[in-house]
Symmetry: C2
C-alpha cells in the first residue's frame, strides 16, 4: 500500500488504540521462539497476565489466536461428547459459547436473558443438576453489560466455571481465583491496549486435571501447549508450534505498562471515563441501552435516537473526525451504538472528543 497513513480514534468495541509501549515493542528485533531472550519475555508476559487475571495459576499464557480462539480452547479442553455445558446467554458472545460448545459434542443447556441485562446467577446455576461446566461472559461486548461472575462462582457447585473476560481484562476488576473462575479467556485489543491476535488464557490445576485428554483441536490442546509455555519457569521447553514472538513481545510490554501505571489506577481511569461518557450521553438527551447498575465502563451502549440513520452518523464520525464507534449487534444493529473507552483511550480527552463529535453529527442529522 502506498497510500498515506491515517490515525483513527478507535472508540468502538475493539480493537482500541494501543499503549505506546505495546506498539514500540513490535519493532524490537525478532527473536527465535526458543531463544533464551524470548523465553524471558514469554515468562514476563505470563507473569503479568497472572496479575491482570487475579490468579496464581501456573498455566496462564497467551494463546496464539484471538479471543475467539481462547473461547474455543476453553470448551474443547473442558467438555466433550455428552458432557453437560450450561451457558448463560445475554448477548452475542454467550450465544457464540453455545455454538462452540455444541461443536465439541457437549449437551448445551442455554439459559437465555434479555439482551441489555446481566445474567441471573441463581437461574444459571439451577439450570441443570450436574453440569460439567457453567459458562458466562463477564463483560458482554455486544450489549455493554457487566455480569456478576463472583456470584456465579459461589453457586457453581462441582461444575467448572468458564468465564469470558475479553472486554474486562486489564481495565475492570477481575479476580479469577477469588471468584472461582476455573478456565478464563480474554483478548488483548480492548482494555489491555495491545493489538489483536492473542488470547490471554488461564486454567486452574484442578480444571487442568479434569480436562479432555485428547481434545479435537491439536492447535489448542492445553496438554501439548504446556510443554512449551511451561508451568515452571526455566524448565526445558519443548516445541509445539512457532510462538507469535512479535505479538507476545507487544503483549509483554502492554501488560507491564498497565502494571507499572498500577492496576487500580488503570481500573479507576476506565471507570471514570465510562461514567463521564455515560453522564454526557444522558445530558445530551440520549438513552443508554444497558440496564442501570450493570453498565460496563469500558464499553457503553446507547440507543440511536428515533429517525436518526445509525450508519450515516458513524460514517460522519469516521470521515470528519477519524472516529470509529461501533454499530449494535443482531436485532440492535441499527438501533444501538457501542462506544469504547479502553486502554489508553480511557481518559477525559477521549470522552470530550467523542461527545463533541457525536453532538455535531446528531445536529447534522437534524436532531
Amino acid at each position: 500500500m502506498t497510500t498515506t497513513l491515517t490515525y483513527r480514534h478507535l472508540f468502538g468495541p475493539g480493537p482500541s488504540n494501543c499503549y505506546p509501549e505495546a506498539i514500540s515493542a513490535l519493532g524490537n528485533p525478532v527473536l527465535g521462539h526458543l531463544d533464551p531472550l524470548f523465553l524471558e519475555i514469554m515468562d514476563s508476559a505470563c507473569q503479568g497476565l497472572r496479575q491482570v487475571w487475579g490468579t496464581t495459576n501456573s498455566r496462564t499464557l497467551p494463546l496464539s489466536g484471538t479471543g475467539s480462539a481462547g473461547m474455543e480452547a476453553a470448551f474443547v479442553n473442558a467438555v466433550g461428547p455428552g458432557d453437560v455445558a450450561v451457558v448463560a446467554v445475554n448477548g452475542m458472545f454467550g450465544a457464540r459459547m453455545c455454538e462452540v460448545a455444541r461443536r465439541t459434542g457437549a449437551q448445551v443447556v442455554r439459559v437465555e436473558h434479555p439482551w441489555g441485562t446481566p445474567i441471573d446467577p441463581e437461574r444459571v446455576a439451577a439450570a441443570h443438576p450436574s453440569p460439567k461446566v457453567i459458562a458466562a461472559v463477564h463483560a458482554e461486548t455486544s450489549t455493554g453489560v457487566l455480569s456478576d461472575i463472583a456470584a456465579l462462582g459461589q453457586l457453581k457447585g462441582d461444575a467448572l466455571l468458564i468465564a469470558d473476560a475479553v472486554t474486562s481484562i486489564g481495565g475492570l476488576e477481575l479476580y479469577a481465583d477469588k471468584w472461582g473462575i476455573d478456565v478464563g479467556y480474554a483478548g488483548t485489543q480492548k482494555c489491555l491496549g495491545v493489538p489483536p491476535g492473542l488470547s490471554p488464557f488461564t486454567i486452574s490445576d484442578a480444571a487442568f486435571e479434569l480436562r479432555i485428554k485428547d481434545p479435537q483441536s491439536w492447535y489448542l490442546d492445553l496438554g501439548l501447549l504446556g510443554g512449551y509455555v511451561g508451568s515452571a519457569s526455566g524448565s526445558r521447553r519443548t516445541y509445539h508450534h512457532t510462538a507469535p514472538v512479535t505479538m507476545i513481545a507487544s503483549l509483554e510490554a502492554g501488560v507491564n505498562r498497565v502494571l507499572q501505571e498500577g492496576l487500580g489506577t488503570v481500573q479507576a481511569r476506565h471507570v471514570a471515563a465510562g461514567l463521564a461518557l455515560q453522564d454526557g450521553l444522558e445530558e445530551m438527551g440520549l438513552d443508554l441501552f444497558a440496564a442501570a447498575g450493570s453498565r460496563l465502563p469500558s464499553l457503553t451502549t446507547v440507543k440511536v435516537p428515533d429517525g436518526v440513520d445509525s450508519a450515516a452518523v458513524r460514517a460522519y464520525l469516521l470521515e470528519r473526525f477519524n472516529i470509529e464507534i461501533g454499530a449494535g449487534v443482531g436485532e440492535f444493529a441499527s438501533s444501538v451504538w457501542r462506544i469504547g473507552m479502553m486502554g489508553p483511550n480511557a481518559n477525559p480527552a477521549s470522552v470530550t472528543l467523542v461527545l463533541g463529535a457525536l453532538k455535531e453529527a446528531l445536529a447534522k442529522a437534524g436532531r
Copy 2:
C-alpha cells in the same frame, strides 16, 4: 522488560529475520477490523497471497493463527469421521498432519518414508483406492527436503490434495493451481519474511464445495470466515472474529515487498543462497543430511560431525555471534543442524557469516 535489545541473526528453521517493510508496517496506526482503510489492506494482502501461492482462488486469505492453525484448518474443513485421509510422512510435519487428521475422526492412511528423502508420489497415490484427501508437505522443515507436489497432483485422481507450503511460500517455486493443490496452508515467518502469527491459506472453489459443512472448529470454519474476508472484494463484510489487524498489515507489506522485488528474483536469491551454503558446508568437509536432488534451498540440513556436541556449538554461535541455527528433530535432534537462509537472509552476506562462524565454532570444538 528493561534489558537492552539484541539483534539475532535468525538462521534457524524459523522465524527468520523479517523484511524491513514488514516490521515498519507493524508501527502503522491500528485500524478497526471493519474500517474501509483496513479492508483495503486485507484485500491487498489476499491479492498478494494469491500471487505467491500461484493461484486465482477467491478464497485465499491469512488465517488468524500460525502455520499449525493452517494445518488444522485444512483438515477440519476437508475431512470428518470416516473419511479417508492418505498422508505422506517424511518428517515431523507429515507426522503432525496424521495427528491433526486423526482428531477429526478421519481414517488416516499413513505412508512412511525415510526422513531425509522426498515423498514417493506413486506410492502415496496408490496407498488407498478412494481417499477423500491426499496430503503432503512440499518443504519439510524438519529434514530440509523438497518433495514433488506437482507429480502427486497428477496422480491424485478424485482426491483433494492438501499441501503444506510453510517453508516454501515466498521463496521457492509454488504453483497451487498448476500443481493441483486444492487446499494449501503456509506460514509467514520463513521465506515471506514476516513475523509469525498468521497462516496464508488457499482453497479452491471445488474443495470449498466439498468441505465439511459443520466442522468441529468454529474458529477455523471456512464457511463462516468467508463472510468476513469475502470472496468478492468490496462486498459487504460480516463480523466473524476480530482480525489481527497489525499482523495483517505486516503481511501485506511483506508480501508486496516480495512482489515488488519480483517473485522470480526472490526465488533465485533463495536458490543461490541455499546452494552457496550447501557447497560451503561440503567444502568444510561436512555431510549434508537431505538426499541429493531434493535439498531445500531455504533450509539446509547438515550432519553434526562425530564427537561434536551439537548443543555446545549452537550455544557458541548464539553467544559469540548472535547467530541462531536449529537443532535437528526427533531422533536427529543431536545429530543434525538446520540452517535457514530465508526471506531477507537469503543473501551472500548471511552465507559467508554463518560459514565463517560455524568454522570457528567447529575449530573450538576440536574439529
